[in-house]
C-alpha cells in the first residue's frame, strides 16, 4: 500500500485511471449541489481538486462497530466511492489493508514519518480512558497512545461517526470503559465531526472532498459541517405539515400512523437533531427513518443514547424519573402549613390573653 510509486496530484491519478473529464465534472457538480454551494463553486472545486496533492489519509478505528466504515464504503454509487479513493491516498486502515500485525504497525510509522504535518486522520470509535486505557489496545499500545502519537503530525482530524465525535454508545451510561470523544484528547488540531450512527455516506465523502479542495468547511458549535448539520430533521421533515396541524400518530398502528402523521408523540427527536437525513435520505436516496414510520432517535447529537430518557418519550416530556419527591414536597408543605397555622393561633391566643390582662390591670388602677 505504501510502497507503490506515489502519484502526486489528483489529476495524475484520474488520468492514470482513465476517469474522463466529464465524469469528474459531474462528480464536482453533484458534490457542490449536495453541499448546497453555489453552482459556480463546482468549477472551483474541479480546478482545485485537479491540482491538489492527494492527501495521505490514516484511518484509525477504536471503540466502534465498523458500521461507519461500512457506510463509507457503500457510498451512493460505487464510482463515487472509487473517486474518493482516487482523491485521497488511504495509506493506513487496519480494517481494509492487506497487511496485518507488525507489518501494519510499521506501515503506520512510515506514513506518519513521510507525511509529517500533512496527512489527514480519520477516526471512528470512542477512546477509552478508564484503567489507563486498557480497554482498547492494538499491538500492545492503548488507543489513547495511538491517537496522541498519530495526531501529532496530522494536518486535520475528521471524526467519522457519533462515537469518535461525541463518545456515542461507548460513552453511554454507565460508561464502564471511561470512553471519551476524540476532541477530549486532541485539542490542538482542527477537528471536523461527521456525526451520525452511522453518518450518511455522501456526507462523509463530501466532507472529505471539501477538505481536500476548499479546506475545513464552515462548522457548527459541535464542529460539524454546517452544510449537512445546519438544519434539524424537523426543519426539513415531510411530515411537518401534520405537526403544524397538530395531527399526531399516538401508537405505531393507529389511524394516524397509517395516514403518515407526525411522530412527535411517539418520541421523535427530529426537532433537536441536526442531520441531513430528511433531504439526503438513505440507501441511494430511497427514504429515511421517519419515512418508514419510525421516529428519529437523534443519533447525530451528543449523548443521544441517554439524554432524552427514552427513544419513545416525547421531547416535551419532563425528564423526571419519579414523582415521589414531588409528592413528599407536597406533604411537607401541608405539614408546614399546619405548623404555621398552629403557630399563628398560639400567638393569637397569647395576644388575646395579654390584652385581657392589660384590661384587667387598667381596671384595677
Amino acid at each position: 500500500m505504501t510502497t507503490a510509486k506515489r502519484l502526486e496530484t489528483i489529476e495524475d491519478v484520474l488520468t492514470a485511471n482513465g476517469v474522463s473529464r466529464r465524469t469528474f465534472l459531474k462528480f464536482c457538480i453533484s458534490t457542490a449541489s449536495f453541499m448546497a454551494l453555489a453552482p459556480s463553486m463546482s468549477t472551483v472545486i474541479a480546478k482545485e481538486l485537479l491540482k491538489a496533492r492527494r492527501p495521505s489519509v490514516i484511518y484509525l478505528s477504536f471503540q466502534e462497530c465498523t458500521g461507519c466504515l461500512e457506510s463509507l464504503t457503500r457510498s451512493y454509487t460505487p464510482s463515487v466511492e472509487n473517486m474518493i479513493f482516487n482523491m485521497v491516498s488511504l495509506d493506513y486502515d487496519d480494517t481494509l489493508m492487506a497487511a496485518a500485525g507488525k507489518q501494519s504497525e510499521e506501515a503506520l510509522d512510515t506514513v506518519i514519518k513521510e507525511n509529517y504535518g500533512h496527512y489527514m486522520m480519520v477516526v471512528d470509535g470512542a477512546v477509552p480512558l478508564g484503567n489507563g486505557g486498557v480497554y482498547n489496545t492494538q499491538g500492545g499500545k492503548s488507543a489513547v497512545q495511538i491517537l496522541t502519537d498519530s495526531a501529532k503530525g496530522a494536518a486535520a482530524i475528521v471524526c467519522v461517526g457519533t462515537c469518535s465525535s461525541f463518545g456515542g454508545i461507548p460513552l453511554a451510561h454507565p460508561n464502564p470503559t471511561g470512553a471519551v470523544p476524540v476532541s477530549d484528547i486532541i485539542t490542538d488540531k482542527p477537528i471536523i465531526n461527521v456525526s451520525g450512527c452511522p453518518p450518511i455516506p455522501a456526507v462523509i465523502t463530501s466532507t472529505l472532498v471539501h477538505y481536500v479542495t476548499l479546506g475545513v468547511p464552515a462548522l457548527d458549535a459541535h464542529h460539524r459541517p454546517l452544510a449537512f448539520f445546519g438544519n434539524t430533521i424537523h426543519d426539513r421533515c415531510y411530515r411537518r405539515p401534520f405537526f403544524d396541524e397538530g395531527k399526531f400518530a399516538k401508537t405505531f398502528d393507529d389511524e394516524g400512523a397509517r395516514n403518515g402523521w407526525c411522530l412527535y408523540e411517539l418520541g421523535c427527536k427530529g426537532p433537536t437533531t441536526y442531520n441531513a437525513c430528511a433531504t439526503t435520505k438513505w440507501n441511494e436516496g430511497t427514504s429515511f427513518p421517519i419515512e418508514s414510520g419510525h421516529p428519529c432517535l437523534g443519533c447525530s447529537e451528543p449523548n443521544f443514547w441517554d439524554r432524552n430518557g427514552s427513544f419513545y418519550a416525547p421531547l416535551a416530556a419532563g425528564l423526571i424519573s419519579s414523582v415521589a419527591p414531588i409528592g413528599e414536597a407536597a406533604g411537607a408543605g401541608a405539614a408546614a402549613g399546619v405548623g404555621t397555622a398552629a403557630l399563628s393561633r398560639l400567638r393569637n391566643r397569647a395576644k388575646v390573653r395579654q390584652r385581657a390582662t392589660e384590661k384587667q390591670t387598667s381596671k384595677e388602677e
Binding site: R22, I29, S33, P39, T77, E284
Partner: protein
C-alpha cells in the same frame, strides 16, 4: 386512507398566468422571482457572454412548482443524453440559452438539477486538453500500425 406522500398534500398555486405565458394557467410568487432571475442572467449572457447557473434543488420548491417552472420554460430544439457514470440529460428549453440539466447516478438517483444559462453547458463541450490527448492517442496507434501493429 393509505399513507400519504408529500406530493399528495394539496398545494395551492396562486398568481396571474397571463403575464408569464404559462400553459398551465397558474404561477406562484416564487416562480415569478426565478423567471425574473433567469431573464437577468440571459441579458448578461447576451451582453457580456457571461454564463450562470441555478441549482434547482437549493430552491424551496414543491414538486408542483417544478412542474410549473418546466412548463413555463417549455422545450427547445436540442436534447443531449450523456452517458457519464450514469445518465445526464441536457435539454434546451423554449428560451435559447436556458438549459435544463439533470445528472443521475448509475442507479438513476437524481444527483443534481441545474438551470444553466449559457451558450452550451460545459459538460457537453469537448475541452482542449482532451482534444490534445486524443490526438496523441491516435498518433500512437498510427505509429504502432506503421511499425507493423494493428489498429484496434
Amino acid at each position: 386512507m393509505i399513507a400519504r406522500r408529500l406530493s399528495d398534500i394539496p398545494v395551492k398555486v396562486e398568481g396571474d398566468a397571463s403575464k408569464t405565458g404559462s400553459t398551465t394557467g397558474t404561477v406562484g410568487g416564487g416562480l415569478i422571482a426565478i423567471l425574473r432571475e433567469i431573464t437577468e442572467m440571459l441579458e448578461r449572457l447576451a451582453r457580456y457572454d457571461e454564463s450562470a447557473a441555478i441549482d434547482l434543488r437549493s430552491l424551496p420548491f414543491s414538486p408542483s412548482d417544478y412542474q410549473s417552472l418546466r412548463e413555463s420554460l417549455g422545450t427547445g430544439e436540442v436534447e443531449i443524453t450523456l452517458n457519464v457514470d450514469g445518465i445526464s440529460r441536457v435539454r434546451e428549453t423554449g428560451f435559447a440559452g436556458v438549459w435544463w440539466v439533470e445528472h443521475r447516478s448509475p442507479d438513476d438517483e437524481l444527483l443534481a438539477v441545474l438551470l444553466e444559462i449559457t451558450n452550451i453547458p460545459e459538460i457537453v463541450v469537448t475541452n482542449r486538453d482532451e482534444v490534445a490527448r486524443s490526438a496523441n492517442r491516435l498518433r500512437d496507434r498510427l505509429s504502432i500500425h506503421t511499425a507493423g501493429g494493428n489498429i484496434q
